[in-house]
Symmetry: C2
Subunit: 207 residues, 2 copies
C-alpha cells in the first residue's frame, strides 16, 4: 500500500515539476524576445514582393529578386505594424520607406510622424507626401536638431540606430539598426515619443 502511495506521489511530484519547469522556461527564456541587428549599406535587391506578397513574380525590374537583405528585413518589421507606428526621424527621403508608411496608413494603422524642421523641406523629403496623404506629421521647432532615427511598432517593437530614412543611408553608408522587443529598451522610447509629440503640438504652441 505504501509503495503505491509513494509511487503515486512521485508521479504527481514529477508531473508538477515538469509543468513548472516548462512554464518557467517559456516565461523567462530571453530567446522569446526578438533582438536583431541589421547592418547597412544593404545589398541591392528588388523589394516589390514585400509590398505585393500575393504576386511574387510580378516584377520585371533588373534588380535581383527573392533576396532577403537588411533593407527588406527593415521593411518587413515596419510593415508588421497592425495598430500603430510612431516614427521619430531626422531625415526621411527614402521612397520605399515612405511607401511602407503609406501602405500601413491605407490599412488603417495609426501613424504619427515627428521630424526635424530643417529637413522637412529638403529635396526629396517624403514628409510633405505623407502629410498630403492625411498622415499626422509634427515638426520639432527647437533651435537644435531632433536627431533621433527610431520607430515604435504597435508600442511593442523598437527599430532604432544610426540610419536616417534616406537612400544614401540605406544604399551607401555604413549604418546600423537594432530591432528589439525588450521592454526595458522599448518602453523608454514609447515614453520619449509621447513627450516629444506633446511638446510639438502646434495647438499648444500658439496658446
Amino acid at each position: 500500500m505504501w509503495t503505491v502511495k509513494v509511487v503515486g506521489l512521485g508521479v504527481v511530484a514529477l508531473s508538477i515539476s515538469v509543468e513548472l519547469l516548462g512554464w518557467l522556461l517559456r516565461r523567462l527564456r530571453p530567446g522569446r524576445i526578438l533582438n536583431e541587428v541589421l547592418f547597412f549599406p544593404s545589398e541591392m535587391a528588388c523589394v516589390e514582393h514585400i509590398f505585393t506578397p500575393s504576386l511574387p513574380h510580378s516584377c520585371l525590374c533588373p534588380l535581383p529578386h527573392g533576396v532577403e537583405t537588411s533593407f527588406s528585413l527593415l521593411l518587413r518589421h515596419i510593415l508588421s505594424a497592425s495598430s500603430s507606428l510612431d516614427l521619430c526621424v531626422f531625415a526621411f527621403s527614402n521612397m520605399d520607406l515612405s511607401r511602407a508608411v503609406l501602405a500601413l496608413y491605407g490599412r488603417g494603422v495609426t501613424i504619427r510622424v515627428l521630424s526635424d524642421k530643417d529637413y522637412v523641406a529638403i529635396t526629396g523629403s517624403q514628409i510633405g507626401i505623407l502629410r498630403k496623404a492625411g498622415i499626422c506629421v509634427r515638426c520639432d521647432v527647437g533651435s537644435v536638431y531632433m536627431h533621433h532615427k527610431f520607430a515604435v511598432v504597435d508600442s511593442r517593437l523598437l527599430i532604432t540606430g544610426s540610419l536616417n530614412w534616406t537612400l544614401q543611408a540605406v544604399q551607401g553608408n555604413m549604418e546600423n539598426i537594432l530591432v528589439t522587443e525588450e521592454p526595458k529598451l522599448v518602453q523608454p522610447f514609447v515614453k520619449e515619443f509621447h513627450r516629444l509629440w506633446a511638446r510639438n503640438d502646434p495647438a499648444q504652441r500658439h496658446r
Copy 2:
C-alpha cells in the same frame, strides 16, 4: 520505517527543486542583463567626480555637483572598461569623452578607434589627440560615410544610438543611446567592428 523514508525522500526532492529553481531563475531571468536607454540633451552638471572619485568635493566649477545625468551615466559605462574599448564613431569632438578614452588608455585598457575620414580633421576633432597619445586609430576611407556611433566595452557591453561624440550632440540635440549586455545585440556589433577594423588596415590597403 516507510514514513521516515518518504519524509527523507520528500526533503531531498524539495531541496533539489529549490536549488534547481534558484539556478534557473539566476540563469534565465532577463533582469540579469543590463538594458538601459539614455536620452539627450543631457542636463548640464559637473562630471569631475566621475574622473576623480577619490576627491568628490574637489571641483569648484559653477556647474551643479553630484547630479547623475545621461552624460554622467554614459561616461560611467565607458569608464567601466577593464580590458578593451572598441569605438566606431562618425564624429568625435567631445573633450570629456576624449578624456575618458585617454583615462582608460592610461589604465592599460586596449583601445581601438575607427572614425570617418571626413570628420577626423575638423576643428575640435579629438582623433588627432588620441592618436598622439599612442591610441590605435583607423579611418574609414570609403567614398561613403562611416556613420556608426557605437562602442563595445570589454566585448560585453554595447553603447550605441543616434549620438555622435560631440558637444552639440550631448548638450544640444535630441538624441538617444542604448546600453545593453544582451548577447544577441552585442555580438553582431563585435563582429562588425572586427570586419571594419580589418578592412581599414593601412598595411592591407597598400599591398
